[in-house]
Symmetry: C7
Subunit: 86 residues, 7 copies
Amino acid sequence: MHSRQQHKPLDFLRGSIDKVILIKVKKNRLFRAKLKGYDEHLNLFLEEATQIFEYQDDDGNIREENENLGRIVIRGDNIIFLNLAQ
Amino acid sequence: MHSRQQHKPLDFLRGSIDKVILIKVKKNRLFRAKLKGYDEHLNLFLEEATQIFEYQDDDGNIREENENLGRIVIRGDNIIFLNLAQ
Amino acid sequence: MHSRQQHKPLDFLRGSIDKVILIKVKKNRLFRAKLKGYDEHLNLFLEEATQIFEYQDDDGNIREENENLGRIVIRGDNIIFLNLAQ
Amino acid sequence: MHSRQQHKPLDFLRGSIDKVILIKVKKNRLFRAKLKGYDEHLNLFLEEATQIFEYQDDDGNIREENENLGRIVIRGDNIIFLNLAQ
Amino acid sequence: MHSRQQHKPLDFLRGSIDKVILIKVKKNRLFRAKLKGYDEHLNLFLEEATQIFEYQDDDGNIREENENLGRIVIRGDNIIFLNLAQ
Amino acid sequence: MHSRQQHKPLDFLRGSIDKVILIKVKKNRLFRAKLKGYDEHLNLFLEEATQIFEYQDDDGNIREENENLGRIVIRGDNIIFLNLAQ
Amino acid sequence: MHSRQQHKPLDFLRGSIDKVILIKVKKNRLFRAKLKGYDEHLNLFLEEATQIFEYQDDDGNIREENENLGRIVIRGDNIIFLNLAQ
């Protein structure tokens, strides 16, 4: 029981430092980037960040366009969930 | 009366650690995953997570598509409710 | 006057523990469930929960569909009001 | 000047305890009820509560329908304003 | 410099106590009322309050309708700005 | 390095006291006014305030209408950005 | 491990002081400016700020228009992410 109480969700981010994660943000924003830093608000500092734009084409298929952003800071309150490195 | 006051809602999550729960998130997002960690903001750490997309097909039927996500951290303020393991 | 100041709204929830209440949630969500626990944020732990879906049929009548959910935790900031056991 | 500084807005609610007030809530919700308790977040405990539904009929007239709710707790952050007993 | 730092915005409300102010609220709500009390959240207690409904008529002109409300408490987080007595 | 850490954003407002600034507010609201006071929430006290209404005319051109407001208090959480006196 | 825990996201902003950054703000607002100050809420003080308006023209192409703003203070809670100087 003791060890369970120590498993706070944000502690699990430590193992993803320097690894590539996916960041799902409100308003359908999606980022892929290397995690360099985070805090208790889920503010993130990321390197080699790419924003992935998903949209439907005229045939209804989901399409992707990428934009390279480099180093970014995301304000935590915009984040829905993080997909950690496996 | 005394024991009732101890039954804080988040304490009930402890019994669902390592079990599969459903997580209903704003904007009609739905996840099924194994609960590994949580905190007082309802931030969650989840493993073997699947996002379930519900939509209406042309005949008005509710349909589901699943996407395997692996390990994710959901920011608590997006959550509407959790459906715990029975 | 003294007794009035003690009647904080959330204190009234204590008398509804183990009783069935209605929970009205943002985005027209409605739940009926047995109250098992709550905290100062109005986070709720509920058993035998049912979500009630209200919608208009083609004739403009309000219709209901129910979904059994079992044990759920609702995050308090989604709640508009609770209808307590009489 | 001294007495003015003591007139905090929520202190004025004390005089409406056990009286009927109107509660205007976001998303055009309106309640009429007897005030039984409140706190600093404007969480309210109410008895003999009625929700008043206002809508436009086909001729553009404002119409009302009432629903008896009994005892309710409204989460304060949904409230726009209270109309106190005269 | 010293006197400037003392001019906190809410301190300026003190001079409008017992005077008529305009209160602009989210979702295009507008009130005219006598200010009787306020706190640091901008919660307001008002007397002789009137809600002013602005709408466009069929010719595109801005029109006003007033509703007398008497004594009201507005929850501060709904407020955009106050127009103080001159 | 030392001096940089002292340059908190709100400290820069001190130099704009008694000067005319532009205040961009959510929902496309824009104000021009003389800054008289502020606090750490960016609540502002302003004099000689004018609200500037921007809209598109039938030809798609951006048009402006001004409304003199006099002395106003803006609640800080509505503000997007301030354009300081040059 | 020790050094990682020190890498809070906002600490990385220190290296961008006096450099040009991009600021992505809710409601599709975009700014390019020289960073002069920031705080823990991500409130920013910026100089030589330009707001970049992105829109689709009649042919569906993304177009840009710039507006010079000079010195601005952005309230942090509007910010989605910052793109730091490389």
